[in-house]
């Protein structure tokens, strides 16, 4: 029999092993932690745990599941190349064809290299790294080839002139200011982001609340298994959950 916890504010229900969860709207601190983002995880570590907050165990389970869903190849399966194979023509080609690495290894290499460059930056690189990282708060890609471009933050100052015109008389006042050549040039010269830095940021706070679904049938997850924290829609799915996935999450 799982441990029972009755949440304050929750509808009082006298059944063992589960409880209604009251969602009090969107709270970014309750959102699952992206394991890639250690900074965010650390920032949250000190805060008080709430009823909705995920345990470390659940976070690991979610990260593992997402990795599984994103996987391109099954490392357990090796499918040999059939038929005649053209021989490598150069040393480079031989080396590259023999690699058995997965994308994860290449991306880890890229991140390690960036971390190294940021730890011991040349003056020019340091300035650039800071600039890019304020833009999206993730590691930046320093470029060996291009000098640090200066992307001027967009300001409203250019529109001062047109704002003096009565807006009712001028359609132009609704139009954004013309493009600034230097600004465009800086944008065009900006180096690519690293793969990790290219990912979209989490949704902004104040957006629609995090949705929770029944782990078994996909309907709303209004009650929570107190053994592992997983959401289910009702008793029937709770039974199914305990018989199947509950232990997997543990």
């Amino acid at each position: 029999m799982p441990h029972v916890e009755v949440l304050p504010n929750s509808a009082s229900v006298s059944a063992p092993g589960w409880t209604y969860v009251v969602d009090r709207g969107y709270d970014p601190s309750k959102v699952a932690i992206n394991p890639k983002d250690r900074k965010r995880a650390a920032a949250r570590a000190g805060g008080a745990r709430t009823d909705n907050e995920l345990s470390a165990r659940q976070q690991t389970a979610i990260a593992r599941r997402i990795a599984e869903l994103s996987r391109d190849n099954d490392p357990k399966q090796s499918i040999p190349i059939p038929g005649k194979i053209g021989v490598p023509k150069t040393q480079n080609a031989r080396r590259i064809i023999q690699y058995q690495r997965q994308i994860k290894h290449w991306l880890d290499d890229e991140e390690a290299q960036l971390a190294q460059q940021q730890a011991a930056p040349e003056p020019r690189r340091a300035a650039q790294a800071r600039r890019v990282s304020t833009m999206i708060s993730m590691p930046a890609t320093p470029s060996e080839a291009t000098p640090a471009p200066t992307v001027a933050p967009y300001t409203q100052s250019q529109s001062t002139a047109s704002s003096q015109i009565d807006p009712l008389l001028s359609i132009e006042s609704l139009m954004p200011p013309p493009l600034d050549k230097a600004e465009i040039d800086a944008l065009l010269a900006a180096p690519p982001l690293s793969y990790a830095a290219s990912h979209a940021a989490p949704p902004a706070p104040g957006g629609p609340p995090q949705r929770h679904f029944c782990d078994n049938c996909g309907y709303w997850g209004v009650i929570k298994c107190l053994k592992c924290g997983t959401r289910v829609c009702g008793l029937e799915c709770k039974d199914a959950h305990e018989a199947t996935r509950c232990l997997k999450w543990a």
Binding site: D72, P82, T90, I97, Y99, V132, H199, N216, C233, E236
Partner: protein
């Protein structure tokens, strides 16, 4: 504009160009003749599975296009050279390229020494992988000339009405590439990618298929080895709910109810997918849910005659593609596509931002999911300042559109000449130089 090539030392342009959009799921490939000819069309593009598949049942291995001769997709295992959109395993990719373009046979054949290669890649490719690619292209395949570009950017050479051939790229174009590996957001200015504004969502066709596979296995049968089938089912039944409000309504209509308060499943949404048995049928099909037939599935089927295995599909139909709009539903900490587009464009000057909203094109296989483009447009409309024009277009053929842009670019010798690197130039300067050159750093 693509990076300028050096003015000297260009070879006489060889006769033809192999244009290759090297996707994780399929290759999109076609030969573009060098001389004057009719502009390329979708019909010039061949779609080839980019995989090596092995069946434990018939003990056969299928390379790429050979998959079309496969009849039994049960427990078919796949080896894919491209991971997260980037060519990672060259042993397999080389075998596939050799099989599809080089070896004796029908279809697309070329002699690399007499052919240029225009190769499309995904944005934010690690440099070491770019270098591997360049080395293989010149040292192993020995193409005469080569241009590697971010494939999606060449969509700028598709004219807005998709008819005429233009030497000038579209001035401002926002490409949304929602494909097998992921979904990327690429703002283009005169055909050049604004790198700092590129954004990517982890959610792509692969993740959606794997998610449907996981859900079906949990709720009905163990189908964890049936990737091919689940992909087919996903393509047949998925739709994107028109709004989050309608999503909630559909979720209600497909719920079984509680103990003591059972609800009938709404057969205007719930489907039964008749699974192929791989004896009489290689492919399944969907039909409206029938509770009687569905109960028969549970041991009540006639001993004689054909029996049916049914996979019911309710909320899976729309909750799976919903991940493109709400990745946090499974714990991926990324904004949904409309908000991610705002993240990308908010980093640009207001004028550019306005121009991008007015010219959005959606490419990639997920654009084919019914309701996808409509939902994207209606959610964007709520986020985009109301005085700005919003125009979201689904490419006529989302799968081949990037290839078509690349082919239209490659069919214009004066454009191609600017960017092609010859084998001689590579041999002289090496792969480090080439990676920098294609990144726009060496002029």
């Amino acid at each position: 504009m693509p990076p300028k090539g050096s003015k000297k030392g260009h070879p006489a342009a060889p006769k033809q160009t192999l244009v290759l959009d090297n996707g994780a799921y399929t290759l999109k490939a076609g030969l573009v003749p060098g001389g004057a000819s009719a502009p390329p069309t979708y019909a010039d593009c061949t779609v080839i599975p980019n995989c090596i598949a092995r069946s434990t049942r018939d003990k056969r291995t299928y390379i790429a296009s050979q998959l079309s001769s496969c009849k039994d997709f049960g427990e078919l295992a796949f080896r894919r050279p491209v991971e997260r959109g980037f060519i990672v395993n060259w042993e397999a990719e080389k075998a596939i390229w050799e099989h599809e373009f080089l070896q004796e046979g029908e279809g697309l054949r070329c002699d690399p020494k007499e052919t240029n290669l225009v190769l499309g890649e995904k944005p934010n490719c690690p440099r070491e992988l770019q270098r591997n690619c360049d080395e293989i292209v010149f040292e192993q395949f020995e193409f005469a000339g080569y241009y590697r570009a971010i494939g999606a950017t060449l969509n700028a050479y598709n004219s807005p009405d998709n008819s005429s051939l233009s030497a000038l790229p579209q001035e401002c174009l926002l490409v949304i590439d929602t494909s097998y590996s992921d979904t990327t957001i690429l703002p283009l200015y005169n055909g050049q990618l604004l790198q700092s504004a590129v954004r990517r969502l982890t959610i792509g066709g692969k993740l959606l298929t794997n998610y449907l596979k996981e859900l079906s296995s949990l709720r009905h049968y163990n189908m964890m080895e049936e990737t091919y089938l689940l992909n087919e089912i996903k393509e047949a039944v998925s739709f994107v709910a028109p709004s989050i409000q309608q999503f909630s309504k559909d979720l209600d209509r497909t719920w079984k109810g509680r103990v003591g308060d059972k609800r009938p499943l709404d057969s205007s949404i719930v489907l039964d997918y008749v699974l192929p048995d791989y004896e009489r049928s290689s492919h399944g099909y969907a039909r409206p849910h029938d509770p009687v037939k569905f109960r028969m599935r549970k041991g009540l089927q006639p001993q004689q005659g054909p029996r049916e295995d049914l996979l019911p599909l309710g909320n899976e139909r729309f909750a799976v593609p919903e991940l493109l709009f709400s990745p946090t539903d499974i714990g991926v900490q990324e904004a949904g596509l409309p908000e991610a587009i705002m993240q990308s464009l908010n980093s640009l000057p207001e004028m550019l931002k306005a121009a991008m909203f007015a010219n959005i094109v959606v490419v990639g296989g997920n654009a084919l999911i019914p309701g996808f483009v409509e939902r994207l447009e209606s959610e964007l409309r709520m986020l985009v300042p109301s005085q700005y024009l919003l125009n979201v277009k689904k490419a006529e053929d989302p799968i081949k559109h990037t290839w078509l842009g690349a082919a239209r670019f490659a069919s214009q010798p004066e454009l191609l000449k600017e960017v092609l690197v010859s084998k001689a130039e590579y041999d002289e300067n090496g792969s480090t130089w080439l990676v920098k050159k294609f990144a726009g750093g060496s002029k």
